[in-house]
C-alpha cells in the first residue's frame, strides 16, 4: 500500500564549473518510507542532499515537496515547510545546552511573535515547547542530559542530538547525512532503531550512507549513484546483487 | 597642667582651622585630543598656585589645587565638576576641550559654583547658557579675526580665503572668522576644510590658489593639519600673505614647520617684550628648569585672577566670589602691554578686545609684534 510521494525529484542537475556533480537525477520518497541512497565517494550524494536542503542552487531540475516546487527556496524556508536534516560531522551550537539546541530545531514551530515575547505572552508556549523538547531528548536516548554542555557529549551522543534537533522541527521529511559514520556497532544498532521509529511515525526518511551493512537492512528502497548519475534503484536485495552496482561500488570497494 | 594641655589643644585646633586650604578645582586633559594644550596650561596654573602659596596664600590660607583628568570626554568632565564641588572646591578652572567646558557649565550653573576657562576661545561658551557663574578669559575667535583684520587693513583686502580643520575648536573659530570677515565686508572667495588625519592639503590649496585671494586666513587648531597647509603653500610657491589664528602661537611650529612659516603672521595674546612676561619667564624657568610659553601664561593668569577675586571677596563664599569675579580688573602675563582682563556690563568673556597682538614668524622664530589691538 504505497502512500503518496512527499518528495519528488525530477531531472535534477548541478554543475560546478565544468564538472557535473549531479546529472538528471530523479527519484521519490513516500511518507513513512526510508529511502537509502548509496554510492562511492564523489558520486554526488552530498550534492543531491544539499540541493534538496537548499544549501546549493541547482543548475536545473525540479524538486517537489508535498506537491510544491521547493527548488530555489532558501534553506530556512525549506526547513519551515517540514524538511529537516542532520549533519555528517556533528554540528551542534556550542554556546547553548542540549535542550536549547533542540529548541532551535523547533524554531519554525513557534507561533508567538516578537511582541508576544517582549510582552511576556509567549512564556506559556515556551514552556510547552521546552517540555516537548525534553520528550524528544528522551526519545533519542539523551534523557539525562537536557542541560549538559554540548561540548561534553560523546560523538555518538552528539549524533543523537542532531536527530532530536531535526525532529523538533516536526519534519515530514528527514534527511540523514551518513548518520552511521563514526559510530560504534552498538550505537549503529540503536540508531537504526531510532530511524525505524521515526519512519513509523509517518515521517519520510532520505538516508545517504556509505556503509552498506548499515543501510541495506534499514532501507525499504535504495538508489545507487555513481558520477552523479543514478545507476540503479530498487529493493535492498535487488541492489545487493545488481551487476552495475557491484561493478561501480562494491567492486571498487572490495578492491580497495 | 591638664588645663594647659586643653588650652594648647584648642589653640592648635584653631590654628589648623585657619590654615585649612582653599580648594580650587582644575579639569584638564592628559589623554585625549586637547592634551598638547591642556598640559602646559595646567603647568602654568600649578606654578601660579605655588607662587601664591609662597607669598602667604589668600586670606591667610593656602591654595590647594584639585586636578582632575577628563580625557576630553565631556560627560566625564561634567561628573568631575560635581566631584570637585562635592570636595569643597570654591572655583573650577577648565582647561580641556571646549565641549567639555560647555558640559561642565550645566553643573556649575546648577550648583552655583564659579567656573572659568583661561584658555578656551570659542565665542559661544558664554552665550549658549545664561550661566552667571561662568567666565572665559581666553581670546575669543571674534577678537582674533578682528585683530588680524585691523593689522591687514593696510593690505586693503577684498577677497580672501578661509581654511580650517574639522576639530571642534577649528570649526568654532572658522565660524567666527567667517562672521568677522563678512562684517568687514570682505568677500570669502574660498572656504576649505582639511580633515583630521589628511595626508595632504594640496587639493584645498589648489582651490584657494584658483580663487586667487588677496590673503588667506587660517582658523584651524590641529598642528599636523596646519603644517600640511604650509607645505602645500610652499610647494606651490604661493605668495599671498597668511594670517593665522592664535594656534600658530604655540612654539611647536618652530620645530615641526621648520622652513615653512617665514613671514606668516599670527594673532597672539602674548607679547614677549612685556615686562610681566619677562618676569614670568624668568621666574618659571628658575623654578622648574623649563622655559614656559604662552599656554603656561594662560594657566598662570587664570589662577592669579581667581586668587585675586577671592581676596577681594574676603571670603570663600561662592556668591561673594562670583560678585568679586565679575568686578575683575587684572593685568596679567597675557595680552598686550597694559591690557587688563575685565567683565564690563555683565559680560563674562573677559579678554580685552584690544588686548591681542599680531606677530610674525621671522625665519623659524616667533618674531616681533607688528600690531596691537583692533585699531
Amino acid at each position: 500500500m504505497p502512500s503518496a510521494a512527499i518528495l519528488e525529484v525530477r531531472g535534477l542537475t548541478k554543475r560546478f564549473g565544468g564538472l557535473t556533480a549531479v546529472s538528471s537525477l530523479g527519484f521519490e520518497v513516500r511518507e513513512g518510507e526510508i529511502l537509502g541512497m548509496i554510492g562511492p565517494n564523489g558520486a554526488g550524494k552530498s550534492t543531491t542532499f544539499n540541493l534538496i536542503a537548499g544549501t546549493y542552487a541547482a543548475t536545473q531540475g525540479e524538486v517537489r515537496f508535498a506537491g510544491e516546487q521547493i527548488l530555489g527556496l532558501p534553506p530556512h524556508r525549506i526547513a519551515a515547510r517540514g524538511v529537516m536534516r542532520t549533519f555528517q560531522h556533528n554540528r551542534p551550537f556550542g554556546g547553548m545546552p542540549v535542550i536549547d539546541n533542540v529548541l532551535v530545531g523547533a524554531h519554525t514551530r513557534f507561533a508567538s511573535g516578537l511582541w508576544a515575547v517582549v510582552g511576556g505572552r509567549a512564556l506559556r508556549e515556551e514552556t510547552q515547547r521546552r517540555k516537548r523538547a525534553a520528550e524528544l531528548i528522551e526519545f533519542v536516548g539523551l534523557g539525562e542530559l537536557p542541560h549538559a554542555d554540548v561540548a561534553t557529549l560523546s560523538f555518538g551522543q552528539g549524533r543523537l542530538l542532531e536527530i532530536a534537533r531535526a525532529l523538533a522541527g516536526e519534519p515530514r521529511l528527514l534527511l540523514f547525512d551518513e548518520p552511521a559514520a563514526g559510530l560504534t556497532l552498538a550505537e549503529c544498532e540503536r540508531l537504526a532503531g531510532i530511524i525505524r521509529g521515526i519512519a513509523a511515525r509517518g515521517i519520510a526518511v532520505l538516508l545517504i550512507e556509505h556503509d552498506m551493512h548499515f543501510l541495506l537492512p534499514l532501507a525499504q528502497r535504495v538508489a545507487v549513484l555513481n558520477f552523479g548519475v543514478k545507476i540503479a534503484d530498487g529493493l535492498p536485495e535487488q541492489i545487493r546483487n545488481h551487476p552495475a552496482v557491484l561493478e561501480a561500488y562494491l567492486g571498487s570497494h572490495a578492491a580497495a | 597642667m591638664k588645663n594647659l594641655l586643653a588650652v594648647a589643644a584648642a589653640l592648635l585646633a584653631a590654628s589648623t582651622f585657619a590654615q585649612e586650604p582653599i580648594k580650587i578645582g582644575v579639569i584638564t586633559d592628559r589623554v585625549g585630543v586637547s592634551k598638547p594644550y591642556s598640559e602646559p596650561c595646567t603647568e602654568g596654573t600649578v606654578f601660579g598656585a605655588a607662587e601664591i602659596n609662597r607669598r602667604g596664600g589668600v586670606l591667610g590660607r593656602k591654595i590647594e589645587l584639585l586636578i582632575e583628568d577628563d580625557q576630553s570626554r565631556p560627560d566625564i568632565s561634567a561628573a568631575l565638576a560635581r566631584k570637585l564641588i562635592d570636595q569643597g572646591a570654591v572655583f573650577i578652572l577648565s582647561m580641556s576641550l571646549t565641549p567639555a567646558t560647555q558640559q561642565q557649565q550645566t553643573v556649575t550653573m546648577e550648583a552655583k559654583t564659579p567656573q572659568m576657562t583661561p584658555m578656551n576661545s570659542g565665542d559661544t561658551l558664554t552665550t549658549q547658557l545664561p550661566n552667571p557663574y561662568f567666565w572665559q578669559t581666553g581670546p575669543l575667535g571674534s577678537i582674533q579675526i578682528a585683530t588680524l583684520l585691523a593689522h591687514a587693513r593696510a593690505q586693503n583686502l577684498k577677497r580672501v580665503a578661509l581654511i580650517s580643520d574639522n576639530s571642534d575648536l577649528g570649526q568654532l573659530l572658522a565660524r567666527f572668522f567667517r562672521a568677522g570677515l563678512e562684517k568687514a565686508g570682505i568677500q570669502i572667495a574660498a572656504e576649505e576644510v582639511v580633515p583630521r588625519g589628511a595626508t595632504t592639503a594640496e587639493p584645498q590649496m589648489q582651490k584657494i590658489r584658483a580663487a586667487n585671494p588677496d590673503a588667506m586666513f587660517m582658523a584651524g587648531v590641529l598642528t599636523a593639519e596646519n603644517v600640511l597647509i604650509f607645505k602645500a603653500y610652499r610647494q606651490f610657491g604661493l605668495k599671498f600673505p597668511i594670517h593665522s589664528s592664535y594656534n600658530l602661537s604655540v612654539p611647536v611650529y618652530m620645530s615641526v614647520a621648520k622652513g615653512l612659516i617665514d613671514g606668516v603672521t599670527f594673532v597672539d595674546a602674548y607679547d614677549p617684550d612685556k615686562p610681566e612676561v619677562k618676569q614670568f619667564v624668568a621666574e618659571y624657568t628658575k623654578a622648574t628648569g623649563k622655559a614656559p610659553f604662552n599656554m603656561h601664561g594662560y594657566g598662570y593668569d587664570g589662577i592669579m585672577m581667581v586668587a585675586e577675586a577671592i581676596r577681594r571677596a574676603g571670603s570663600t563664599d561662592k556668591e561673594k566670589i562670583r560678585e568679586a569675579m565679575q568686578q575683575t580688573s587684572y593685568a596679567g602675563v597675557m595680552g598686550a602691554k597694559g591690557m587688563k582682563y575685565r567683565f564690563p556690563e555683565g559680560k563674562r568673556a573677559g579678554f580685552d578686545p584690544d588686548g591681542m597682538v599680531v606677530r610674525v614668524y621671522e625665519g623659524d622664530r616667533q618674531g616681533r609684534v607688528v600690531h596691537v589691538g583692533q585699531k
Binding site: T55, P74, P75, H76, A79, A80, R85, F87, R91, F93, G95, M96, D100, L103, V104, H107, T108, S112, L114, V117, V118, G120, A122, E126, R129, R165, A166, G169 | R30, V31, D69, Q71, R73, P74, D75, I76, A78, A79, R82, K83, I85, D86, Q87, P99, Q102, Q103, Q105, T106, V107, T124, L125, Q128, L129, P130, N166, S167, D168, L169, Q171, L172
Partner: protein, 307 residues
C-alpha cells in the same frame, strides 16, 4: 509573581541608592547606569547575536539629538518627539542592516564604522539644527503635571530605563528569538538548515538593539541638559566593545560587570597613576582576551567550579 517582586526590589534598591549619594556620586552613578544600559543592548548584538557594529553610540546620539531637536527646535509634543526619535533610529538601522545582512564576514562592522563617522560629520556640519561642534544646550526636561523630574528622581528614571532594557533583552534571550540569535552567532549555516532566517534575525537584532540605544540616548539628553558631538564618536564605541569583552560576551552579567569596571577604572586609577591608566586599560583588554576569553564572568564561573 515572585519574579515581578524581584524586579521591583531591584528597582527600589537601585533607585533608592540615588537618594543616599552625593551630587557627584549621583552623577557618576547616572552615567554608569547609562553605560550599563548601552553595554546590555550592545552585548545582545555582539555577544549573543555575534555581530560587530560600531554604530551603537551613533544611535545613542541619534536618540539624544532627535529628541532635543524635535522638542526644542520644532516644538513638537513630548510623546511625539520620542516616537519620532525611535522611528528615526529604526529607519537608519534598517538602512544599514538590510544590505549588510546579505553579506558574510565583517561587513556590518565596516558599514557601521562609516555610519558612525558620517554621523559626526553631519553633527558638526548641521548648523543651527545640531548646533555644530558646540552642540545644543540651554534646554530643560519638559514638565509633567507641573513638576519637573530632577536630581535623584531622574536617576530613578535611568534605573527604570536600565531595568526595562534588561527585562526586554532578558525575555528575548530566553525565547525562540534569543536562541535563533545564538544559533546565528555559532553557526549560521546550521541555523538556516534549522529554519532560522539568518538575515532577518541579524537585521531584527541590530534594529532592536539600536533602537534601545536610541532610547537610552533620549534619557541621556537630560542628564547634563546638553548634547555635543564628542560623546557620540568612535572612541566610545570601541570602549563599549571592550567593556563587553572584558566582562564576558554573551552574558548579561558580563555586560554589567564589564561596563561598571571599565567606566570606573579612570575614576579610580587616574588619581593613582595619572594618565598611565589608559595603558593599564589596554593591557587589561589584551589580557582578558588571551587569558579568559569568557571574560570576568567566565573567570568567576571557573573559580566557583574549581575552588
Amino acid at each position: 509573581m515572585s519574579s515581578l517582586l524581584r524586579w521591583l526590589g531591584a528597582a527600589l534598591l537601585l533607585a533608592g541608592a540615588a537618594f543616599l549619594l552625593s551630587d557627584y556620586h549621583n552623577d557618576v552613578y547616572r552615567k554608569l547606569l547609562l553605560w550599563v544600559t548601552l553595554a546590555l543592548s550592545y552585548n545582545f548584538l555582539f555577544g549573543i547575536c555575534g555581530q560587530i557594529a560600531f554604530s551603537h553610540f551613533a544611535f545613542y546620539g541619534i536618540g539624544a539629538y532627535s529628541v532635543v531637536i524635535f522638542l526644542f527646535q520644532f516644538h513638537l509634543p513630548f510623546p511625539l518627539a520620542i516616537l519620532l526619535g525611535i522611528a528615526l533610529c529604526i529607519l537608519f538601522a534598517l538602512a544599514v542592516a538590510i544590505p549588510s545582512a546579505r553579506l558574510e564576514g565583517f561587513y556590518l562592522a565596516l558599514a557601521t564604522l562609516a555610519l558612525a563617522q558620517l554621523f559626526i560629520v553631519v553633527l558638526n556640519e548641521g548648523g543651527a539644527v545640531t548646533g555644530g561642534p558646540g552642540g545644543l544646550a540651554n534646554y530643560k526636561l519638559p514638565e509633567f503635571l507641573g513638576t519637573r523630574i530632577r536630581g535623584p528622581w531622574y536617576t530613578a528614571v535611568i534605573v527604570l530605563l536600565l531595568l526595562g532594557t534588561l527585562a526586554v533583552l532578558w525575555r528575548l534571550d530566553r525565547s525562540w528569538f534569543g536562541r535563533a540569535c545564538r544559533a546565528v552567532r555559532d553557526n549560521p549555516e546550521v541555523a538556516a538548515a534549522m529554519g532560522v532566517d539568518v538575515a532577518r534575525t541579524k537585521v531584527t537584532a541590530f534594529t532592536l538593539t539600536s533602537a534601545l540605544a536610541g532610547i537610552a540616548g533620549m534619557v541621556y539628553a537630560f542628564v547634563d541638559n546638553t548634547v555635543n558631538p564628542p560623546i557620540f564618536g568612535l572612541d566610545n564605541a570601541f570602549l563599549l566593545l571592550f567593556m563587553v569583552i572584558v566582562g564576558g560576551a554573551g552574558r548579561h552579567a558580563g555586560a554589567i560587570i564589564g561596563a561598571a569596571l571599565l567606566f570606573l577604572v579612570p575614576f579610580v586609577l587616574s588619581p593613582l597613576i595619572g594618565h598611565h591608566h589608559v595603558l593599564v586599560f589596554g593591557v587589561l583588554v589584551v589580557a582578558a582576551i588571551l587569558l579568559q576569553p569568557r571574560g570576568l564572568v567566565g573567570l568567576y564561573d571557573a573559580i566557583r567550579r574549581h575552588p
